[in-house]
Symmetry: C2
């Protein structure tokens, strides 16, 4: 995340991860979610906060989940089931269950299949938001597996040369273990910028970088500017010349694997549930010796991190490294919440008669 | 491909695909490649030409393959073998075989495994160049499967904030069938631009677009400019602000799956064979009904193609559509080769005492 989007630590309330998790689990239970599921969902949200992925943590997501439960869009006790299955695959009907709770269960199935036959791959249709995609991908790492997670979301991104949003931010997450280094964890939207950065920028009065948005007519905005009233997001690559057809194509791949392949639909289908998910686990042992793999990952990361930096930069990082560094700090110091966010959580707990643990 | 990189049709020699294929197969045989392998390799090269992917066709690749065979870098009769295997996976030691010949065989194995257990995934170490990655991904389509292909190549791309090349152009290809529409075929380097465009631009005197290259010190070149003498490629996204950490992270994913996971190494390891490949096939039937999937793909593509275009553009396309349109023309009219390329092929055939079929 760019620096201007970070919480200002001077105004922050620091909350221990465990306290935030217990609080959020209480809120989920109040929504009708069974206790074990409530704890699991809270774990997904709070790990995002611990790793500095504030965009997918409690402050940005909990409100919309509460709204979804309250208006019936999200089913607190889904009767999710496997509707098709092979030794290495499954397709799940999630019965409108919240993705942050169903997706880890799907990943458990994928991991078990990868143990049995080398690879496990599970799609989830009729689904709802899955939070930080890398949570699910990272589950594979502790089993000496490579984890993958993608999600096809409601449209906010234009195709290259297009003037109408047809694709979600459709993120891709991949996690792979190392030996002494923190795991490789990649997790990014296939759009040029995450959707909620625009709202945050508007709130903070920060200008948009060039290449993030298209204007109302579909023209890429290539100057630093205030966000216009009506806009769409650009695919990664921003313009055809810079390679936006690649971001667009990757987003299409996500729409196919996490959307069309579920049999239920993809982000842009009107009138259909518009989240679909995809998780996969690849057993490293099915390809090569896991210890040697992890040693080579350390070597590979060391090479990447020792790259001579370009002028104006002090170091080169690898995906997962900044998040691991932030997690170490936040597990010690607590999660910094905007005072207004902390107060909103306290107020929400009071309103719902749920204990707030901070 | 941008228009300025296309062959000028006025100066072109048009060669039928079958004639070019027979000619190239003859050259491969002369290099010591067994006849069936020679035909397979020629098919991979010529399909790139037929689909307008000239960067990976005969004119751009054959010379380097001949050189590789002649200097012993490529083994014409590799004793390739599976060194580890599970029901859904295999890892192949390619014994320095040319990727355009070994990779289709690996994909055959992946497809068979996907028939058996739902997913097949095969890595290839100790490998050489695999040509157009989408050739291999597309093999899955005729089996009602989704195909994936990635390759970890020698370094030419800087990590975000880096001043030294650490990653190859590390392409990702994905293919998925539709019903009446041509298949979805995505195939793109994870760098901002394909490496050989720079050489072609220099030859044609065309300026580089902003965001394609970093200068000698690692600074992204963000103006339209002549290519400098020394440069590296930028990851997709070009700069941190535009999202280059995403292109960089995707390239890392390719290095891990197609490189580290082979157990042999990745693009940037000095002194090790520096191509590694990854192919996968996902049986659609393992997730959902294939006919319904293909119908939904048609619907999805129709939605994408009917997107209102942005000003200055006449239509929105889907990955695989421009290549399918070019293939239809070139199967009819022949493949346009630069006169000098056609002459080089004729001269090479004469030198090697191989028949030239055009």
């Amino acid at each position: 995340m760019l620096e201007q989007f970070r919480v200002n630590l001077d105004d922050a309330v620091f909350v221990k991860g465990e306290d935030l998790k217990a609080t959020v689990a209480g809120v989920f239970e109040k929504m009708g979610v069974p206790p074990a599921d409530a704890l699991l969902g809270a774990d997904v949200l709070v790990l995002a906060d611990l790793r500095g992925v504030d965009s997918h943590g409690v402050s940005n997501m909990l409100k919309s989940y509460i709204t979804g439960y309250q208006n019936g869009q999200i089913n607190p006790r889904p009767n999710w089931k496997i509707i098709r299955e092979t030794p290495s695959t499954a397709n799940i009907d999630s019965d409108r269950g919240l993705g942050i709770i169903i997706t880890p269960k799907a990943m458990d199935i994928a991991i078990q299949k990868a143990k049995n036959v080398g690879v496990g791959m599970v799609t989830i249709g009729n689904a709802r938001h899955l939070g930080m995609a890398s949570y699910h991908a990272m589950m594979a790492v502790e089993h000496d597996m490579i984890g993958v997670c993608m999600t096809s979301c409601p449209p906010s991104v234009v195709p290259t040369f297009g003037a109408e949003a047809r694709l979600g931010t459709n993120p891709i997450a991949v996690a792979a273990p190392a030996k002494n280094e923190p795991p490789f964890v990649f997790d990014a939207a296939t759009s040029s910028v995450a959707g909620n950065k625009v709202g945050i920028a508007r709130r903070l009065g920060v200008k948009m970088e060039p290449g993030w948005l298209a204007d109302e007519d579909g023209n890429p905005i290539m100057d630093e500017a205030d966000p216009p009233e009506k806009y769409t997001l650009l695919p990664l690559g921003s313009t055809r010349e810079l390679g936006s057809h690649k971001g667009y194509g990757l987003s299409c791949m996500v729409d196919i694997l996490a959307g069309v392949l579920t049999g239920v639909g993809y982000g842009a289908v009107p009138g259909r549930p518009n989240f679909g998910h995809y998780v996969a686990a690849y057993s490293i042992d099915a390809f090569t010796d896991p210890d040697e793999f992890k040693e080579m990952m350390d070597e590979w990361m060391g090479m990447m991190k020792s790259t001579k930096p370009a002028p104006g930069h002090d170091r080169v990082m690898v995906a997962g490294q900044p998040e691991a560094e932030i997690e170490e700090i936040r597990r010690e110091d607590g999660i910094p919440l905007h005072e207004e966010v902390a107060q909103w959580i306290r107020d929400t707990c009071a309103e719902l008669s749920v204990p707030c643990h901070f």
